[in-house]
């Protein structure tokens, strides 16, 4: 008698999870999209850079199908009226082409209008419920930071366009793509302006290039930016001779290297650019006081500068023009001021 009662209870206990689970199994058909989850590779990104073909005054016709910067095919049925950008870079891109975003991530501080958008948390783990709650008709996600969220975002049933910037070329691609997707000529205008700015810089650069080291991190623990990083690419275009060129990317993030202090100082950089990633003492302040750096030309000539973390690190892309302007002035003040 007792035993049978116990087994009845067990059956009840076993049936509940089974019920819940069978409910889960029924939903399989909703989820086939995952097979095509895109993977951002260097190839996919550069491949996409040739596809967007919108000219400045060309009207976009909908439905529009484009290849985004994560290499995915995106279909947008009608001109988006409610846009949700979900990373610092994508929020800036949307505002830079004259549109507004319903959402932003917590760390976004530019442009100021974006601060009134709904804060959906961090770019790495955006709150998808708040995103869905904003009822956008286009989600603009970050091809550098957020590729792994594709399945989750696609489940919302809203078109997701991936843009982002790992280098200057990507910025042009992203501007053209977002301009085309949102039917605004402003994307092409911005991209063309950047190309013109770059041509102007190239025509003025001296033959003799400045030896530059770009540091990123905290005064006690920093990494050196390689030419393959975003800031390294802008510095290259601004005429920097990066002392870390050719080093392997061995830092926790791609495009950066952990170099010993001896190596850096031994290269005798003429200019030090520093991005301090934490509040408190900056890298440049700590270098000025460090006897190890005392003989380095950049320190003796007082050419150690902090550069803006938002422009060069946190939100790579939309403000590339401003970034080039800052870098050329720091590297060649006689020519560009």
């Amino acid at each position: 008698m007792r035993t049978s009662l116990t087994w009845k209870r067990l059956l009840v206990a076993a049936a509940l999870p089974a019920l819940l689970i069978s409910a889960a199994a029924c939903s399989d058909d909703d989820d086939t999209a995952d097979d095509t989850t895109p993977v951002a590779t260097a190839e996919a990104t550069t491949g996409a850079s040739t596809s967007p073909t919108a000219a400045a005054d060309e009207e976009t016709t909908y439905p529009l199908t484009v290849t985004d910067m994560a290499g995915r095919s995106v279909k947008i049925d009608a001109e988006p009226a409610a846009i949700a950008a979900i990373s610092p870079t994508t929020v800036e891109f949307v505002y830079a082409v004259g549109e507004t975003s319903l959402t932003r991530t917590a760390s976004v501080d530019f442009p100021e209008e974006a601060l009134s958008a709904t804060d959906i948390g961090s770019a790495y783990q955006p709150n998808v419920e708040l995103l869905a709650g904003a009822s956008p008709d286009l989600i603009v996600a970050d091809s550098v930071l957020q590729v792994q969220l594709a399945g989750q975002l696609e489940a919302l049933g809203i078109p997701v366009l991936y843009i982002g910037a790992e280098n200057f070329e990507d910025v042009l691609t992203a501007y053209r793509l977002i301009g085309q997707a949102l039917n605004t000529g402003e994307g092409e205008t911005q991209a063309a302006a950047l190309e013109a700015q770059l041509a102007d810089i190239e025509s003025k650069l001296p033959a003799e290039k400045a030896k530059v080291v770009i540091l990123n991190g905290t005064p006690t623990d920093f990494f050196v930016a390689l030419p393959e990083s975003y800031v390294g690419d802008l510095a290259r275009l601004a005429g920097a001779d990066n002392v870390a060129a050719g080093q392997p990317s061995n830092a926790p993030f791609p495009g950066y290297a952990k170099l010993s202090l001896e190596t850096i100082i031994g290269e005798a950089p003429e200019v030090v650019l520093a991005i301090t990633a934490a509040p408190g003492e900056t890298i440049s302040q700590s270098l000025a006081a460090d006897p190890a750096w005392a003989s380095v030309p950049a320190v003796t000539n007082e050419r150690v500068s902090e550069i803006d973390a938002a422009i060069f690190l946190q939100a790579p892309g939309p403000r590339a023009g401003e970034g080039l302007d800052i870098l050329t002035k720091l590297l060649y003040p006689d020519i560009f001021n």
């Binding site: 007792r2 009662l5 116990t6 209870r9 067990l10 009840v12 206990a13 076993a14 509940l16 999870p17 089974a18 819940l20 689970i21 409910a23 889960a24 199994a25 939903s27 399989d28 909703d30 989820d31 995952d34 989850t37 993977v39 917590a106 804060d119 959906i120 948390g121 961090s122 790495y124 783990q125 955006p126 709150n127 998808v128 419920e129 708040l130 869905a132 709650g133 009822s135 930071l145 792994q148 969220l149 399945g151 989750q152 489940a155 919302l156 049933g157 990317s249 830092a251 926790p252 993030f253 791609p254």
Partner: protein, 340 residues
């Protein structure tokens, strides 16, 4: 430290059965409430009617998306994770006759996490379909290592617990080594190591639940032998039980369950430790009741903990592992003080 030695079939008297019914009713009610609460609360609070509409697809599109696409798969995964961990803990505590045993303490979860870290490092976009068997391989190898290390013509429960602690430390060091030598994109993929269900969807649930069902079923089939094993090795042997075989099956089942939970949620500590204890105080040492009750209460704990993790610092969230540790660590301290 524990009353395992009592003959389980003799423990409950007839007067206890009313209390038992109450316990089961309470456990089921707790889980149903947990699931309903987790479906209702979040960035937007939904009324019970909206939740039901969302579940039945009669609601507005937004309710449907929030309830069906975002919350439900995650809640069901929390059920799977909690039930798996709690049952694994119950098995391991039985095998080691040690109230401090659980998959985390014995290094089994760390084995799964290390295996998954290595897999992610090799290929960052490895899908959930592969992660689960890889996690299981890791938990199984770690369990085999712990078992092998404590073998000396037989496994003493104390040696098993001690080698588990040593293996846990070693494997955790391995995970840290993987973390510091990986690049940023891999690190974000590894963020689940802290324990969490962020972004988990139907595809994750689909590959995880069969492991949990097989594991919990196996645990139920082992329950009678676990009761005999609790009598002590020699009495069990004299009753005709193959002691080592029971132990090996139990540890392997625990590894299977821990593997399912690691693949789904990373390292979620203390569930396997705390839940079987609570269940024992309610229902005694009979594994035929202890295992299903642990599954129910473990599921409730993780569903509530995940809800808490989602809403406490909204719109961001904290790792689930932190919440279960905050609940579990004080309980462990209480155990240490109350039972010595």
């Amino acid at each position: 430290m524990q009353q395992h030695a009592t003959t389980p079939t003799a423990t409950p008297s007839r007067s206890n059965s009313g209390r038992e019914v109450a316990v089961w009713g309470f456990a089921v009610l707790l889980l149903v409430l947990a699931v309903f609460a987790a479906l209702s609360f979040g960035a937007t609070t939904l009324s019970p009617l909206q939740v039901i509409d969302g579940l039945l697809d009669n609601g507005t599109t937004l309710d449907r998306v929030v309830v069906w696409e975002i919350r439900l798969p995650r809640v069901l995964l929390a059920v799977v994770v909690g039930a798996s961990l709690a049952v694994a803990g119950a098995l391991l505590q039985g095998v080691t006759r040690n109230p401090l045993a659980d998959p985390t303490v014995l290094g089994i979860t760390a084995g799964g996490a290390l295996a998954v870290s290595i897999a992610i490092k090799i290929s960052a976009d490895i899908g959930p379909a592969w992660l689960t068997p890889i996690a299981f391989l890791g938990t199984f190898l770690a369990a085999a290592l712990v078992y092998g290390m404590s073998w000396r013509g037989g496994v003493s429960p104390v040696r098993l617990a001690l080698s588990g602690v040593a293996v846990a430390a070693l494997l955790t060091a391995g995970i840290n080594a993987m973390l510091v030598t990986s690049n940023l994109s891999t690190q974000s993929a590894l963020s689940w190591l802290a324990g969490g269900l962020f972004g988990r969807g139907w595809d994750d649930l689909q590959v995880t639940w069969p492991y949990a069902v097989v594991g919990i079923t196996a645990a139920m089939l082992l329950a009678r032998n676990m009761n005999i094993l609790a009598l002590g090795d020699e009495p069990a042997q004299s009753l005709g039980l193959s002691v080592e075989r029971t132990r090996v099956f139990a540890v392997a089942t625990a590894a299977l369950l821990a593997g399912a939970s690691v693949a789904a949620a990373g390292m979620v500590a203390f569930v396997g430790l705390v839940i079987p204890h609570i269940c024992r105080t309610f229902i005694g040492d009979d594994h035929r009741k202890l295992i299903p009750l642990s599954a129910l209460l473990g599921a409730s704990l993780v569903v509530y903990a995940d809800l808490f993790a989602r809403v406490i610092v909204a719109p961001s969230e904290i790792p689930l592992g932190i919440v279960t540790a905050v609940v579990g660590a004080p309980f462990l301290l209480y155990l240490v003080r109350a039972k010595t």
